[in-house]
Amino acid sequence: MIELRNVTKYYQTKHERKYILDNVTFTIPSGVNVGILGRNGAGKSTLLRMLGGIDFPNSGFISSPNSFSWPMGLAGGFQGSMTGRQNVQFVSRIYGKSEYEIKSVIESVKAFSELGDYFDMPIKTYSSGMKSRLSFGMSLSFDFDYLIIDETLSVGDKNFQEKSKKALRKKIENCHILLVSHSMPVLKEMCDVGIVVHNGQLHYCDRIEDAIETYNQINR
């Protein structure tokens, strides 16, 4: 369960405040996979960052008894000078894994992400697809109540996409996802409920199909 109470978040532009959430009070119920839709710049990624605890509302509160993964996305989350391996070590350590566990995490991430020799190259040499493969591969090795995924399921070739979806389906037997995607088939397949972010408000729909319908109306 995630509770938002009077949450306001804006960005200050040169002339005005651009509201992403304008005094939103809202509860995301437990036990459902949530798809998040919205136009570019509507604030989907910011919403994910706030739910993940690394960005903060200008006023109001977000609270949840659950644990969240880091936001897995195409951008950010990696220090360019670190190699893929070093990054996996780093994340394992901050989650308190023992050196022995870290070895097995490294092996599984290396195998899943299909980075090959790039696994020992600095992340600044990676393409954005490679970054999300690494990020997604890592998240599979940790236990969270919610996985926060920002568009990463549509990277890589067909083969890798299939593999990711399969891994994710297995993963969500034990946890739930908050998924931002522009791909309607992926949303339909993975999510139960939907939230449309539009004009500073959240529109909640009990069925993901309704959320997609709402989103299509906004775009019309």
């Binding site: 969240f68 880091w70 350590r93």
Partner: protein, 259 residues
């Protein structure tokens, strides 16, 4: 998922950040080890050479290279803590994507790393000192260590304050870094306060680093004393920047995280 106490998270994060900093500092550039001692070594050679060229031993009972080495090692420890603190947020900002990692942790990590680097440099100096048969045994080991640890806390306070200010006003960080170079000459590193004319003496004692250097030198060498050291003044300079730094850090943490 098992809930961990905030202290155990803090420990894991510091460990992870520390090992990452060691990797980037010494792993990718093999010269990292070299630079760690090069600064201090160069200064000792230059000033010991100058001194030998212009004057006979003006400090009886003191091996001048040892005097220089102790001062420069301490000064560079302090300087590096402050300088590296200023860059700490920027250099680790991508890692703030993991909510366990707080900007404060990156400062603590860098202080610990500088202590490690300085310790290694000191060991190298000790080996060289033994080889050339300098008198390197400190007169009061415990008080020297206390002075150095106090200097570390002083550096941490100034570093924290500068890091927070520099995050919001970039110029501040640049000014601090520019000030570091002249500080070398006005911090009683290569001379004692006692050797200065009275007018200069009064002026230079406003510089808190002078008190730390005098404390280190005074307890290291039996021939020198600590009569110019004002402990109260040192305490103010330790606590006030630390307080200001913490105050603005707590107020600004979220803004540092979200940029």
């Amino acid at each position: 998922m098992v809930r961990r106490s905030s202290f155990s998270i803090f420990k894991s994060v510091i460990t992870a950040l520390f090992l990452r900093e060691v990797q980037t500092r010494f792993g990718t550039k093999k010269l990292g080890y070299f630079w760690a001692i090069f600064d201090a070594m160069l200064m000792v050679l230059v000033f010991a050479g100058l001194k030998a060229a212009i004057a006979e031993n003006a400090m009886p009972g003191v091996d001048f290279p040892v005097f220089l080495a102790s001062g420069f090692l301490a000064f560079f420890l302090w300087k590096d803590i402050v300088n590296r603190s200023i860059d700490a947020f920027g250099a680790n900002s991508a890692l703030f994507a993991y909510k366990q990692v707080k900007p404060f942790d990156t400062l603590v990590t860098r202080v610990l790393l500088e202590i490690l680097v300085s310790t290694m440099a000191t060991l190298v100096f000790i080996v060289i000192g033994l080889y050339f048969e300098f008198d390197i045994a400190p007169q009061n080991f415990n008080m020297v260590i206390l002075a150095v640890l106090w200097l570390v806390v002083f550096g941490f306070g100034v570093g924290l304050m500068s890091a927070v200010f520099a995050h919001f006003y970039e110029t501040f960080g640049k000014i601090v870094k520019v000030v570091m170079t002249p500080l070398i000459f006005i911090s009683a590193i290569m001379y004692t306060v006692d050797s200065l004319p009275p007018v200069l003496r009064e002026l230079i004692l406003y510089n808190p680093l002078v008190h730390f250097m005098e404390m280190i030198h005074g307890y290291y060498f039996a021939a020198l004393d600590t009569k110019y050291v004002d402990y109260e003044y040192m305490l103010y300079w330790t606590l006030i920047p630390l307080y200001i730094g913490l105050y603005f850090y707590v107020k600004g943490e979220r803004r540092i995280l979200s940029t």
